[in-house]
């Protein structure tokens, strides 16, 4: 009886408050109940039967990863059909080939499976894989240049880190080394440098955005690549704006850090793309190409240095900013060559594009404020020529690296 007492008391307390709290609860439950009813009716009564025109189910299959090894070809495929779809046969170079599927059985929407083909692929040559489903629909995947997919060994990771350093870290460091030389610069020179930074950032933003959309098209439809790119860019832009403006407009070291972060995110996406390209054999690595990337990215260091010219940053700031801006290239190369899927590269590039947009706006705002003339400063000769030089330099050096 001792136990019963508190129970009844506890039960009676909410009952007294019910008149106030029940109404919102009803309005929460009712729509859900209607949804459940609609689902039940759709399933039970099948009113959409009249739409069944006898057409076969829509089928879609996306190839996300290709792994070439001494054991043959492994492909990671993702299904995107209106109904679970069944892989019936696999052809390599227009020949039926034995294969195994893991996990086996029909693939539901969004599900992935590995297809293993013990195929004697030929180093440096092209191969085409075609998958036939049980309805006779075919999905083709081209391996433009067959090379063994890198496996994570200490040696390969070090080599990729070295490549990433040349693409990302070295040029930023070189650019930052101009810092002492730039310190005594006047107002016009300062405006030129900041405008150049804006110009090169705009170039990177367009480049990253375009690449993100391109990769998004390769991704499975289920990811809604275009929407994903826009939302990810918007989110990273808004997030960085919100963080950056917590304590007023960023200037000096804070602005330099944001520039480094934006460039770093871009380099992450770039690294992913380069890593994936080398892993799939799409690009051979030449000294000229790496030098091109180095040259291409030198202005990034100058851009990071520009907002700090008025302050006196500690020495450790420079390596830290170099790592922030260039380090992600190494990370991207590692990830891209080992575990590439187009949607992740697209996501990284989109986040980078959003981050760069934030920096473009903040650098422009900083320029207007430090100049003192506001918007009028934007149409001044040093600013216009600086922006033009930034874009033109990036465009011209990009010619060295675009394949």
């Amino acid at each position: 009886m001792n136990e019963a007492h508190p129970v009844t008391e506890a039960g009676s307390t909410p009952a007294e408050e019910a008149p106030r709290s029940r109404a919102p609860l009803v309005w929460l439950v009712l729509p859900l109940a209607v949804l459940a009813l609609a689902v039940a009716w759709l399933v039970a009564a099948d009113p959409l039967r009249s739409f069944d025109n006898g057409a076969p189910p829509v089928e879609n299959l996306t190839f996300e990863r290709t792994v070439l090894s001494s054991g043959g070809i492994d492909l990671l495929v993702r299904a995107g059909g209106s109904e679970p779809m069944t892989i019936a046969q696999v052809l390599v170079d227009d020949a039926y080939w034995e294969f195994s599927q893991d996990p086996s059985g029909p693939l539901a929407r969004g599900e992935t499976a590995w297809i293993h083909l013990p195929y004697p692929w030929v180093q440096g040559e092209a191969h085409a894989v075609k998958i036939i489903t049980n309805t006779g629909a075919t999905f083709e995947h081209e391996i433009p240049v067959a090379v063994p997919t890198p496996v994570p060994t200490t040696g390969s990771l070090v080599n990729q880190a070295l490549l990433g350093a040349f693409v990302g870290i070295v040029p930023v460091a070189i650019g930052l080394m101009f810092y002492p030389a730039l310190r005594g610069i006047g107002r016009g020179g300062m405006n030129f440098l900041l405008a150049m930074t804006v110009g090169l950032l705009v170039f990177l933003m367009i480049d990253a955005g375009g690449e993100a959309f391109e990769l998004a098209d390769e991704a499975a439809a289920i990811f809604q690549g275009q929407v994903m790119v826009v939302l990810a860019a918007a989110a990273s832009f808004l997030l960085l704006m919100a963080i950056g403006r917590r304590d007023g407009r960023p200037a000096g070291l804070a602005l330099a850090t944001f520039i480094a972060l934006g460039i770093g995110l871009h380099n992450l996406g770039e690294g992913l793309a380069i890593g994936a390209a080398f892993a799939s054999g799409a690009a051979g690595l030449g000294t000229f190409l790496v030098l091109g990337f180095t040259l291409h990215n030198i202005t990034e260091g100058i851009g990071i240095a520009a907002p700090m010219l008025k302050g006196r940053p500690a020495l450790w700031i420079f390596p830290a900013l170099t790592l922030l801006a260039g380090g992600p290239a190494v990370l991207g190369l590692w990830i891209g060559s080992l575990a590439h899927a187009p949607q992740w590269s697209a996501l990284a590039l989109a986040i980078g594009a959003g981050a760069i947009l934030q920096v473009v706006i903040e650098v422009a705002a900083y320029l207007m404020k430090s100049d003192g003339r506001g918007v009028a400063a934007l149409s001044s000769w040093p600013v216009l020529s600086g922006a033009a030089f930034g874009v033109a330099f990036m465009y011209a050096t990009a010619m060295l690296v675009k394949i």
Binding site: A95, Y96, P103, P118, K130, N134, T135, M228, A242, A341
Partner: protein
Amino acid sequence: MGEITDWFRVKLSRRGVLGAGILAAGGSAIAAAGAAQQPAPAERSSGSGHDGLGSAGHGPSHGAMMTVGEVDEERNGFDTRKMLTDWETGTVSRLPGGRVLRTFEIDAVDKEIEIAPGVMFPAWTYNGRVPGPALRATEGERLKIVFRNFGSHPHSIHCHNIHSARMDGIPGAGVIAPGEEFVYEFDAVPFGCHLYHCHALPLKRHIHKGLYGLFVIDPDPALHPEHTDVARSRLLGTPENAEWQELAMVMNAFDTNFDDENEVYAVNTVAHTYMKRPIPIRRDKPVRVYLVNAVEFDPINSLHLHANFFDYYDHGTTLTPTLRTVDTVMQCQAQRGILEFSFKDHEPGLYMFHAHQSEFAELGWMSFFDVQEAVA
């Protein structure tokens, strides 16, 4: 009501807007991450048949080049092994005057068939099978083909033999709408290895969907005194003919995704069927193959016999070979002929035959003869 308008009147702070944007984007990222659970590549058991792959990635020469799985022949309603010797001789009666009247009944039916393990094809068929029944008659007989169209499109039977314009099976002369019936009548001439197919339009689609078959007219020995023995050996039902192992083979192909290119090539429809179940051949008995090319989209097809040579009778309309001692013969679309060869001087074993267009061979048109001392 007042509460709702109050809610709308709340000023959306900038921070709030930012948060909403991030929430939306975050939601899409979470959805993407949820769909991204990728299984790891399958472990390869070292005991599998793929051991032959060396470090350079070179596998067994033929072992792995094959469709995976089995075709459900029961569901298909036709067995590719039985098809080889399944001759449709129709029903025989006598016309006034004693002449033989042979009647065939053929229905056009829509039917989904399995053309490679797991690959279904929405076929148009004669009597539910692809290729259609292998018709067999004797030279000089009167033939009657009762054709009923149970399909979803107009169809016909256009026979490659000598007949009148009215019996040609083309639009206006024997192409019939669904639900209709037509009787083709003509004489069984000339003797040879022929084919029939649907001649409704568009032609390519009606043929590659499966409406074709063998049409063999055996020579009447009485009409060929100079080659009586040869003619008797060709005439189904004679003791001389029973000494031969006769096989009906229709080279065909299927465009499963309707892009006007074939995905599956075969003899008698099912890819690799005679690789997985080689055709048993008695070593001491000669072999005669009635071969027709019914492939669409590709202008030519061929048959190449391994380790042996054959005599070839183009169209089968002669009793002496038109080609002697060849191991490869080429046929354009609708071309056909008879191959005669023997394995009596060979050791038992698997003897391959296939299209020597390697592309067709690798897409399913590859087969084996299993030469044995005795066949069960």
